[in-house]
């Protein structure tokens, strides 16, 4: 589903179409119950989105005769929304899919187990590393390290006492993990089994079919209908 959204974002150039696509994601977000997290993602993407908007507007302005037309605004908005749709579709995907299921899907897709394992293990250690980073910051602040002060360059240098122990600890950790993996017979069998199984039920097939249908409609609209309309109803701002 999210892939379709992603693809459709790329297919369309018109702002109004993109706006429709963007809004259509909202019911998905609500049913997925990830509203708060999605808003956080948007907040994170705000800087980049603004940059996209501003740079496009400015370049259009300067290269098309120094006039601000509604077309330019529309175009810039369109691109911005394309970006927002893309990050939203990504975030919907990752927020609603448990890593275990994802890893299972990868396994079914014949991805080599080493990659799968690396993927899950990295996720598993994110909270561990986050806590470690906090401990390191505490320890270094207790030795007089000031992370908030200073000019830009020295501030970056101040993060070395944080990053280095983090990296060294990660390297040490990987040695310990390797020992533990060996001790748990990692790689013993070429045919690795799995505790969980991925099963497709009726609902899954329905959603799959529905998504496919939408994809066909979108492609049809884009390539066979839209180019023949002089100007798809667009929002007149100015």
């Amino acid at each position: 589903m999210t892939c379709i959204l992603f693809v459709s974002a790329i297919l369309f150039n018109e702002f109004s179409m993109l706006l429709i696509i963007f809004l259509s994601q909202i019911p998905i977000i609500i049913t997925g119950r990830i509203i708060k997290e999605w808003l956080k993602t948007l907040k994170g993407g705000l800087l980049l989105a603004t940059m996209i908007f501003v740079t496009n507007l400015f370049s259009l302005y300067f290269f098309r005769g120094q006039q601000l037309t509604s077309d330019m605004l529309e175009y810039s908005l369109a691109l911005t929304f394309r970006f927002l749709i893309m990050i939203t579709s990504f975030s919907i995907f990752f927020l609603t899919t448990s890593p275990d299921k994802l890893s299972l899907a990868l396994e079914k897709a014949r991805v080599p187990y080493e990659f799968n394992f690396a993927f899950i293990t990295s996720i598993r250690f994110v909270p561990v590393i986050a806590e470690e980073a906090q401990s390191i910051m505490d320890a270094q602040k207790s030795r007089g390290l000031e992370l908030e002060k200073g000019r830009f360059l020295s501030r970056i240098r101040n993060y070395i006492p944080i990053l280095l122990p983090l990296i060294v600890n990660s390297i040490r950790r990987s040695l310990e993990l390797a020992e533990a993996m060996e001790s748990r017979a990692f790689g013993a069998s070429k045919k690795r089994t799995n505790l969980y199984e991925l099963e497709m039920n009726m609902l899954d097939y329905l959603v799959l079919g529905f998504t496919f249908l939408i994809l066909i409609i979108i492609i049809y609209v884009r390539f066979f209908i839209e180019p023949f309309l002089p100007m798809f109803p667009s929002v007149r701002i100015l």
């Binding site: 890593p99 275990d100 394992f117 899950i120 293990t121 996720i123 598993r124 250690f125 909270p127 561990v128 470690e132 401990s135 390191i136 505490d138 320890a139 270094q140 602040k141 207790s142 030795r143 007089g144 390290l145 000031e146 070395i160 006492p161 280095l164 122990p165 060294v168 600890n169 040490r172 950790r173 310990e176 993990l177 390797a178 020992e179 533990a180 993996m181 060996e182 001790s183 748990r184 017979a185 990692f186 790689g187 013993a188 069998s189 070429k190 045919k191 690795r192 089994t193 799995n194 505790l195 969980y196 199984e197």
Partner: protein
Amino acid sequence: MGIIEVRDLWYRYPGISEPALKGLNLEIEKGEFVLLTGPSGCGKTTFCRCLNGLIPHFYNGDLRGEVIINGLSIRENTINKLATHVGLIFQNPDNQIFALTVEKDVAFGLENLGIEKNEMLKHIDWALDRTGLKEMRQRATYELSGGQKQRLAIASILAMKPKIIVLDEPTSFLDPIGAEKIFKVLQALNKEDRITIILIEHRIDLAARYVNRVILFNDGKIIDDGPPEKVFSAEESRLAGVGIPKIIQLGKRLRRMGVNLENLPLDTLMFTEKLKEKLVNKRISLLAEPNTKVNRMIEDSGNSPIIKVCDISYSYPNGVEAIKNVSLNISKGEFVAIMGENGAGKTTLVKHFNGLLRPQIGKIFIDGIDSATMSVAALARKVGLVFQNPDDQLFSENVEEEIKFALKNFGFNKEIIEKRVNWALNLLGIERYRKSSPFILSGGERKRVALASVLAWDPDVLVLDEPTIGQDYAQKERLRHFLLQLRSQGKTTVIVTHDVEFVVDSKPRILLMSQGRIIADGPAELVMTDFEMLEKASVSPPEILKVFRSISELGFPRNVFDVDEAAEIISRSLKGGSS
């Protein structure tokens, strides 16, 4: 033929000339519960890596001799093959957990072995049941406590149904209660499922009562082997510098004084019962001046305290109320120990002393000044915090630079920095590592570098968070003497610790914390004898004290901490005839 046979085992790590293991010969029978101990660097960790094939297959190096595990030679069999016969559990709970949920982690080994799903579920059910983790089946692994994580590690190994389980210092990161739980699980596995257990531990006082055999290592060789009472009473253990349980020390002392108490059991309870039988009807002889051995430094309570905590409360962002209405004063020169169960708020409290955390209610005054008006750096200048894990702070090219770090941050000038670095290096006995990289030093040496780097700026107050974790007995003794030295120089010292025996030997002022509050505050003699309070704080009383509390009903004094004092009192009574 034992389930483990070791014949003339020699091993050298690659690139190191000195062998780590020098001619070991050993046989372990099925169903034994063995304690492997010895000072740091004696080779016990190396030895247990030989038991599941990590040596020689993972570490390479030079292996001579043979180790046969359940009939399989470690040389001729891969680690994978050996994994179904022997399981190895490591020190750090986090670094042996791979999955996101408990259930999936227990399945990890089974999946690797290609075991079919229904069979897997049976193994998993059994393993979770034996380790008491049934209700945690669907929990996320990062939510587990340290003790639960270690039990998960045991479950994950157990699921592969090994006949032998080897554990390398599994309780290092756990508090005594967590440690006890692990030992109880191991005991059940040993007694009920007949699994051979090999346990490497420094915390002999906690572990000794569960095992039926002790193998003592030193310098790559086995120097003693036998039942715990015998090994710990023998000279070898004293010379090797391991932490002999206090009960055994008492028994030895009494024996030397001519009192014969045949075959004293290791379990404090049984020891005390036997002792009571002998002491009934004996005249109680008190020492001429009881408690003169109280070495308390005169606290200058007249002046204003160096740390004054006024009714503070703090909750973490996730809502956990860590500290509630805590007030205390610490005077200059005091030696304070903060004790309590995991999660009681001890570390949270000391993080307020240097401003890492700020109280949401209440105020803290450091040396008379409101901490709210000072930055962390300014407060750190006065209150030096040394954290549990030195690896959280080491990052410099060499030890010298590491020590200079804080001094530079605090703006000391070059000459003073030079002097301080020299002083700190000498104080901690690490002058010869001046130009070494901190990363290649051993665990104990890294701890000393961390301590040196804090002492270098001579803070008014020194705070140590769990300084005894993972240390062997000799290292702890060195630390204890060092702290005494600091005390005699008038330095205010605060330690946060679980280690009751460590505390009781130094007799500080004790603060007991439980659930965010201070429930007891007083000199060690008073707090340690209040068993009800200790229980509330989940602190186990020191061994000697437990004995005397029990025999106090016969009229003996309650507050005896010291092995020597205890031996004196008991031997006099036993020799003095009946009343």
